[in-house]
Each structure stands twice: as structure tokens, then as C-alpha cells.
Amino acid sequence: MRIPVAALIGLFFTTLFFLAAVFAPLIAPYGMAEIVGDVWEPPSDQFLLGTDSIGRDLLSRMIYGGQTTIFIATAATALSFITGSVLGFFAAVSGGWVDQLISRFVDLIMSIPSLIFALVVLSVMPTTITILIVLMGLLDSTRVYRLARAVAVDITVMDYVEAARLRGEKIGWIIFRETLPNALSPLVAEMGLRFIFAVLFVSTLSFLGLGVQPPQADWGGIVKENKEGINYGIAAALYPAYAIAVLCISINLVADWVLNRTTSLKGGRG
């Protein structure tokens, strides 16, 4: 198996970001909220990326921020996938009014712009990480539901699903043993995209002040804290923006490769 260069680059950065997130306390030179220097010190041997608006080490903030952002995005993506695909498969396999009920409810949620929905909820609920994850996970699960249902509807009309029904199989077997393995490739590819949206979404919320609350670091929050610096030629706000961009592009490259490999075109294996 040869991995294309683009996918290798993607894999490299994705792995790098995830490792940094997991081992943040070991790698970060200073504590997350530790004030160690002056306001907006330029990069130096002591502070590789300089310091932020109140004199904390920016590199350490970035590493801990990456941990928060990636953790929230991963958890939200996992939640959205589990909810979305189980409901999608269930609707497709059940058909009839069950399908109608779930699908129309999902349409209803999707007709409200996600950001506005999230802002309304977060302005009345306490802003904790758990609530953020659940909210983002459920909002995103509507998109996953759409895809999972569409893929599963194609699969449930196959003879092998009919054969399983005739055998008397319960809905659990039909969903998890007959449908899921055949729906996996498009879902895996979609997972990459949904993860990126989750990263962007949580960063947006934090930038607006409704996401992760200080002193906890996260990339969107770091942009917000340092955005005034741009007026004085300080680049501190740009580093988290770069990080978000690089992570998104890397994951996209990996997702593209996975999709290419698993698609039935070009002789791949269905």
C-alpha cells in the first residue's frame, strides 16, 4: 500500500497535534495560567512564541488550548456520530412513520442556524465543557443522521437484508451486522469533515465569549484574548488561527485519502 504525499503530510500534522494534546502537561514549558513575563513580549529563547496579553507563555497556552479544543471537538464528533448514525440506521431500517417522525424532527432542528441555536442555549445554560460537548454533538448529529439514513436506505433494500428479515433477525442485528459494516466508508470520511466543523464551531463560540471560559485556554479564546495586539503589530492572535487552519487542512487530506481508498471506484473495495 502506497500512501500519497498529501495524505502523509496530513497524517503527520494530525498525529503531531493529537500527541501534543495528549501529552500537553509534559511538553508545555510553563503552566497554563501561569503569569511568567511581561505583556506581549516578543518571541525569545525563553518564550518561543512570546507572551500573551497578560504575560502568560503563549506556546504553553497554545499547547493547552489545543488540548481543550481537540478534546471538545473529538468528544462532540463521537457523540454526533453515535447519535446520528444509530438514529439514521434505525429510521432507514424501520421505515414508515418512525422514519417520518425522526426525519421531520431533524429537518426542524436543521432549519434553525446552528450558531444562533447554540448562542441562545448557551446564554441561558451554564457554560461548562460538558454542556458545550452535548450541545455541539447533538446539533452536528442532525447532519450525520442525514448521511447515515441516506446510505442505509440504499443498503436496506438489498437482498441480504431481506434475507436477514426472513430469517427473523431482530433490528439490532440488521443495524449493526448487516447495515453498519457496509455504510462505514462514507461515514468515516464524513467523520473527518464533521471533526473540522466541530473545531471551527467551538473556536467560534469561544471567540464570541460563550465557549470555553477563561482562564482555561482554547484556540478560539486565545484569538479573542490577543486580538487587540494586532493593532500594535503583535502576532499573538495569529498563532492559534494558524493552528486551526493547519489542523483543518491536515484532517481534510486524511479524510480525502480514506474516502478514495474505500470508494468502489478505481477498483477499491466497496
Binding site: M158, D159, A163, L166, R167, E169, P181, K266, G267, R269
Partner: protein
Amino acid sequence: MSETLLKVRGLKIGATIYPPDEKSRDIDIVHGIDFDLAPGKVLGLIGESGAGKSTIGLAAMAYGRGGVEITGGSVEVNDRDILQSGIRDVRHLRGAEVTYVSQSAAASFNPAKKILEQVTEAAILHGKFSRREAEERAVVLFGKLGLPDPENIGQRYPHQVSGGQLQRCMTALALCPEPDLVVFDEPTTALDVTTQIDVLAAIKEAIRDTGVSALYITHDLAVVAQVSDHIMVLRMGEMVEYGTVDQIINAPREDYTKALVSVRSVQHEEKQPTPHPVLRVEAVNARYKGTSFDVLKDINVELHLGQTLAVVGESGSGKSTLARVITGLLPPSAGKITFAGRELTPDLASRPLEDLRELQMIYQMADTAMNPRQTVGTIIGRPLEFYFGLKGAEKQKRIQELLDQIELGTGFQDRYPAELSGGQKQRVCIARALAAKPRLIICDEVTSALDPLVADGILKLLLSLQKSEDVAYLFITHDLATVRAISDSIAVMYQGAVVRYGPKSQVLSPPFDDYTDLLLSSVPEMRLGWLEEVIANRKMESAGN
């Protein structure tokens, strides 16, 4: 004009294949074929799927399907090597000198344009005729091909005519530009027998009247015997035998040709009915949701243990619907079904496990009947686990027994369906049904998608399993040769009703009702002059007209 219209020498064709989890590689699919075709003659190309028939046919237009490449040899049309010509010359050749009739007319016509526009397009584009001349010619051809109302049928859209009519329109399309050569690629394979014979007769007459040459590609020797002058038998990209129709049919030289000619070697003695039928269908009616007419009308049939009931009919006659009603996928709107002495509940969901186990089903397309992500072991093992709670070594042992029964042996357990041939796939489906130890297996066109020799093997297997397991078959098919080979009793279906029902010997002997007569007489026979004889003696028009 020279003596040979088409001269093929040392034709080699290669393709790139992509085996799962391996590197792609190039293989040869046609290994050096030579043949000549004189003007006005018809050459039949015959062989199993994968023999290279269609590939050779398309090479006569200097064309290779996606991934297929002509790698060597020469193809001369009217003394020009078309493999060496530039794309501009080839463009003049295709659709003007050589034209093509494909298997599925429905998939080949543009649904958004009227038939006449499509039939005349090539002739006008190549400057052979003006629009008016081409349209006049098309109308003449429509008439010649026996299409109703030839003046106006061209104004219809493709979905507004029947499948058999559309196939004839496609023949008109191919003949309209006055080509020298027409490539017919299985033009009647997708049609019902009763429709096939009309299309076949029309094609034969049109070829004779226009004096065009043709390559006629099919897998059915009996069909090709009716239209060709010469026959070339192909197998795995090599020529097996070449000769006149008379010689191939009556005195084949090669073993493979002999096997093709004598196909359906299966013999089966009719058994007497037992006093207690395993399945009894009484006064069953059925309709699909949201429609206002019955697709099954007052069906009464019986099936006895260890015997076979063949349900025969054209597409749309309700054969498969009957299977859906018996399995509970479509609850009947009236009537009752008794199975092994118990009355079956109409709906699948309310049936006890015992009923589900004893009533199994085998599908036409083995490809889609098996989950591509499960191994053969999982596919066969699941019913064992599900119905009998078998686990571990015991289950493995039983799986191996079943694999032995379907003559596959060891080493197949860990394979995926994609790694099996068509016949092997259908055998695995049979094993899955057998694993449940059923009393009745519904076989829905189980041999229709297979090559004749492979289908023969499947029928033999089914018969020997019937003897050893004492299982009954409800055998749904449109192929009367299969019916003769395997059944004890027969139900002939037409437009949702059983028009003739009884023991095999009785159903297949005169006096016949009109429909059974039409059906029986439409099955191509492997002798010269059969087509003309049948057309002359018909009592009833086929449903496709």
C-alpha cells in the same frame, strides 16, 4: 466491393484488473482471434460470460470499453485497418459503416428525446441522408420490423413503448444509416421468451431484406442458430470452434461445443403427490399498497414434501409476488396459506421462529443476497447460531458439512463473496438455506443469472439435495427448459392468475390453452428453421405487443 467485409487477424485485447487488496495488473482477455465475414452474412459469436464475445464485437468498431485496450492484431473493414486509423476516420466508421445494437435498449435510448430523432440522428450526422430521407427510411424500417403504427411511433418517447418494441426501434436505429455491418450484442437476452421470438423474427427479416452483414453475439446457442450463417464458439478469449450453423448444431467437433449443444442434461422423474401437502395456497389475492388492482388473483396451488412446484410466467405475471406473499413480506388481501399443517399468519413479524426456519428462500442475484462484508463462514454459520444455538467447534463442523454438501470443500470459510465465482456464490446461498433444515425452499430465478453449464450444475445440486434432505422447492422461473428438468408439478401464471396447473406430464401435454401454447412454442429450439415454423403456427400475440 471486396469479398470480405470484415477481416480480423490475430486480434488481442487486454484489460487492467484491480483485485481486492492487491496491485492492479494487466491481463489478456482475448488471445489472438482470426475470422472473416463476407458481405450479407451473419456470424454468431457464442460463449459464456467472460468469453470475450462483446469485447470482440466492439473491436469491430475499433472500440474498447473502459479499461479495455486493443493490444494487437488488425481489424479490416472494407479493406481498411481501422485499428491504425485516426480518430477522425473512426468517427466516420462508427454509426455509418458499422453500427451497434446493445442488450438493454431501455438503458441506451435518451429518455428525453423522441424515438424518431434518435433513430435518424446518425444517418443525418454522417451526411448519408437528408432529414426527410432519413425519416422516410426510418418509417419504412419501423414497418419492416413489425412495429405497430410505423408512421407515428417515432413521435413517442422511449418509455411510451414496450421493451420488445424498443429493442426493435434500436435495430431500426442501427439499420437507418445503411451500414455495412451491424453488431448485435445480446439483443434479445433481456426480453421474455414470448417477446424474444418476435424481435428475433423481425431482426432476421430486416437483415435479409437490407442485405447487411452482422455479428450476432449471444450466450444462447438455440437463438444464434436461428439467425446466423456461421457460428464461432468462444471460451476465455480463445476460439474453440468455427463452422456453419448446421455443422455446429448437428455435428460439433469439440467437447466444449458438445456440452453447450447438449445442455440441460438434468433428468428428473415426476413424483406422485403425497396425501399431505407441505404448502397449500388457497384463494389468495394480493395487492401492493396504494394501488387499486390485484397483482395476484385467486391463486390455488399445493406443494408436496420432497417435490418441486415450478411457477412459470413472463415478467410481470406475479411469480415473485407469490413468493413475497408466501414468505410474509407482502400480506395477502384475501385467502389463506397453510404450511406444514399450520396456517401461516399473513405478516412476517408475527410468525413463530419455527415457521421462519422451515421456509427458506434463495435469490436470483447471489451477489446482492450475501453481505459483502461477511465471510462465507459467517454467512452459513448465522442460521446455525440463530436457529439451533450452535457455537464453536460444533458450528465449524456443521459449516464444513454444509460446504461439502454444496461441493465446495475446505478453504472457503474465510473467503468473502467477492472472491467467489457466480456459481460458487449461488452454492453458498443454497448452503445458507439448507443450514436452517427447511421443509420448503423458495427458489426465485436461481439459475437465470448464470451461464448455461453453471446453471446445469446448480440444478443437479438442487435435485440431489432434494433427495437427501427431503426438502420441497417452489421454483420460480421464466425458463421452460429448467421447468422440464426439475419440476414435479407446474403452475403457469399470466397477468396475476394461474392459467394452468397440474402435474408436469399433464401441463406439458396437449391440449394446451392459448397462453401455455404460446409460452411453450416460444422456447428456442436448437434446430434450423424452427423460428419460421413457430411464427407460422402461432395462435396468440405475445403480451409485449
